[in-house]
Amino acid sequence: MKSKGISVADIIIYIAVGLISLISVAPFIYVISISLTDPSVYVPYKLYLIPEKLSLTSYSYILSTPSFITALKNTIIITVIGTALNIAFTFTMAYGLTKKELPHRGLIMGIVIFTLLFSAGIVPNYLLVKNLGLMNSYWALILPALTNSWMLIIAKSFIDSLPVELEESARMDGCNEIGIFFRIIMPLSKASIATLTLFFAVFHWNTYFTALVYMNDADKQTLQVYVKSLLIDASTSGAGDTGLADLLNLPSETVRMATVVLAMAPIMAVYPFVQRYFIKGVMLGSIKG
């Protein structure tokens, strides 16, 4: 576009963004550094920006632990299936709710808002999952989270911002709402779909408490449950000093940091794939004519 050269505003923007980026990434460098340090030389509370003695032992240790791989596999499956279903259930309902004259819309919105603010707590949900026979299965983590009010409202807000003329022109072409949904709304909602995909994926990836409650097999653990068990702190594990805190083989800090890195890396890798959907606009020329 304009190439007037760099203005003062630009410099300020670069500096601000640069600083924020630096602060965001610094602790990661620390964590990654520790994870790559040889355990025999690692000492806590030193500022590691570069590993003192580069070593991949911590990583190879974890990757050769079957539990980690299984936990990773479980989480990937739950995330992929869960997110796909999330998008389906959320956007269909969100689109439907944008129709302001829909009969009983008030009731449905009321339910949505109510569930946004009130939750019945863990016991009824536990019993429900149990009675539906979902215990110890992936579905226990997927079905109760098919959609939620917060995401619904966001999706609805995005769909609302699409121009009304689009639907009208499609209606004139003889499309009903279902057709409009698949042929117009979804293709034009790439930015919000990408955004919510990211949100849902991260949500599933980070599942901890529900996984703890609904899974009974060690090999159905999700990644975060596994990671947490490695990060247990001796005095904060809720049961006081009943001997619970004594792990026979407490992994060293380097291994714990490597686990943290490995637990974050896959989901962070998803971001660049979706990033392009909300960098450039997608709206060019869709209304003209």
Binding site: S67, L72, L127, N216, S229, A234, G243, N249
Partner: protein, 517 residues
């Protein structure tokens, strides 16, 4: 993302994913080699095992136990050997150790209780409530005088006594010896500063003040922390292990006694002298340990089996590091020490199982508590997970990856007097040495912390409300944000609170149930 970079990025991601999966596959095949073949069939063996002359059907039951990262799967070699050996069909629901009590509460509340449950804290209020409401079998009658259960008889006797609820045994205790934690101190610093290892509280205070004011690690800064307040260890020196009675014969919780205030005052004097870290109250257990490991702290309190590891770790920053254990320090009204209860949680049997099954389960646990089975239950399969070195189990590479506290979580096992003293990493003669050091504890009149055992509903209810406030006042008293008079006045206020007064007779009654008058 630019086209060619995108392709590169996809390629790298796929490469990483493939290498991770390859690592997984290769490790799995390694494990298969170690584990033997995984049988294709599922796990209910109804065929007669050829060892037993009379074919008895295996006892089928479910359980719930702590999960620490890994746990033996139902179809793993270890588990199959175990089921075969004891003739059971035991299915365990593994629940992460962190937040275990929450899941247990949920399970108890939903009524869908497994046959057997590991109870991590037998005095947790919800577990007590469950026991009293009849969720668990009362085992007292079945146990009787233990003539049917010789291995139970050999378990640490204090464990059977102290794990009772209202005089009844609902839990089979998971036992260990009474020797557990001690005060760790940097011996090399004592030597450098020409200080003698302290034997009394007063001498300890002197020594620690000197250390804090000097530069024992030679880094040119006066930044060494002497000690971090630990009431579990130190308060006993001021008489907190002895019951303090009110005028009606009720027992006042030790936190509200002037003995405890004396302990706080002692710590205050250390703080004033600069021997305590400024922000001591926010250090987690791991952070305290790391302080010691990195040579910033002269002492800390931990299970004695960590001594070996501490020496290795401190040597990283200072090759001259030397660690000594101080199992006790003499104080004005007792010894500062930690005398373990001898058990850490236990197993409960759900009342919903039949009496026959309950007895079968007791037999099972009696069998696993045979001292012969101790290694198996704790360390896994000999030759695969561990080998015997100098008469002591030492974990193999596979053992180090697979074996952790999840292994013994679903079982009861024999009492190991030195369970918390022997280090699995250290050579046997090192452990024998540590045992001798810890046995010093037997020479004094070691007392358990009675408030880990005594039960009072009123106290539980009130304490859950005021615990944070109390800890806050204590921290402020030590740091000087409030005066000792204010702290004692605060204690007095609590002692006069009717809701708390309700707990005194309950404690007295509980004391009588456990220890007699």
């Amino acid at each position: 993302m630019k086209r060619k970079f995108r392709g590169l990025y996809y390629g790298v991601c796929i490469l990483l994913l493939v290498s991770v999966l390859l690592a997984a596959c290769s490790s799995n095949s390694n494990n298969n080699a170690g584990n033997g073949q995984k049988p294709a069939e599922s796990s209910t063996p109804t065929t007669n095992s050829t060892e037993k002359p009379a074919a008895k059907d295996p006892l089928v039951f479910t359980g719930m136990a702590n999960l620490y990262a890994n746990a033996p799967a139902k179809d793993s070699e270890y588990w199959k050997i175990m089921e075969d050996k004891f003739n059971v069909d035991y299915t365990v629901n593994w629940s992460p150790a962190d937040n275990y009590q929450e899941k247990l509460d949920l399970v108890l509340a939903s009524g869908d209780i497994p046959d057997v449950m590991q109870i991590t804290n037998t005095t947790a209020p919800s577990n007590l409530r469950a026991a009293k409401a009849g969720a668990f079998w009362d085992l007292t009658a079945a146990l009787g005088d233990f003539s049917n259960y010789p291995n139970f008889k050999k378990l640490n006797p204090s464990a059977w006594v102290l794990s009772k609820v209202e005089g009844k045994n609902y839990f089979i205790p998971r036992t260990r010896g009474n020797l557990d934690s001690a005060l760790f101190i940097r011996q090399d610093w004592l030597d450098t500063l020409k200080l003698k290892t302290p034997t009394t509280i007063e001498k300890f205070a002197e020594v620690i003040k000197v250390i804090a004011k000097s530069d024992p690690d030679g880094n040119g800064k006066i930044d060494t922390i002497g000690v971090i307040p630990n009431p579990g260890y130190f308060a006993a020196a001021f008489g907190t292990r002895d019951p303090v009675r009110d005028s009606n014969g009720g027992i006042i919780h030790m936190n509200l006694t002037s003995n405890y205030a004396d302990y706080v005052e002692y710590m205050r004097s250390l703080y004033v002298a600069g021997a305590i870290a400024d922000e001591f109250a926010l250090f987690t257990g791991t952070q305290q340990e790391e302080m010691f490991m990195t040579g910033r702290s002269a002492t800390f309190v931990k299970n004695s089996w960590h001594k070996y590891r501490m020496e290795q770790e401190t040597a990283k920053t200072d090759p001259n590091a030397d660690v000594t254990l101080i199992p006790h320090l003499k104080g004005p009204k007792g010894y500062a020490h930690i005398y373990d209860l001898g058990y850490f949680g236990g197993m409960a049997i759900s009342k919903k199982v039949s009496e026959e099954k309950m007895l079968g389960i007791l037999e099972f646990f009696n069998a696993t508590s045979d001292p012969e089975n101790y290694n198996f239950v704790n360390f896994g399969i000999e030759g695969v997970h561990y080998t015997i070195v100098d008469g002591f189990p030492s974990l193999t590479e596979q053992g180090k990856k697979e074996v952790n506290n999840s292994f013994n979580a679903p079982f009861i096992f024999a009492t190991n007097e030195f369970a918390k003293v022997d280090s699995p990493l250290a050579p046997m003669d090192y452990n024998l040495q540590t045992r001798e050091e810890m046995k010093e504890l037997y020479k004094i009149d070691g007392k358990v912390d009675i408030f880990k055992v005594l039960q009072s509903d009123a106290w539980t209810k009130e304490w859950s409300k005021i615990k944070d406030e109390f800890e806050s006042m204590e921290a402020k008293a030590i740091s000087g944000a409030i005066t000792m008079e204010e702290f004692r006045a605060y204690q007095q206020k609590l002692v006069e609170d009717p809701d708390i007064i309700a707990s005194f007779p309950e404690f007295a009654k509980s004391y009588e149930e456990f220890f007699g008058k």
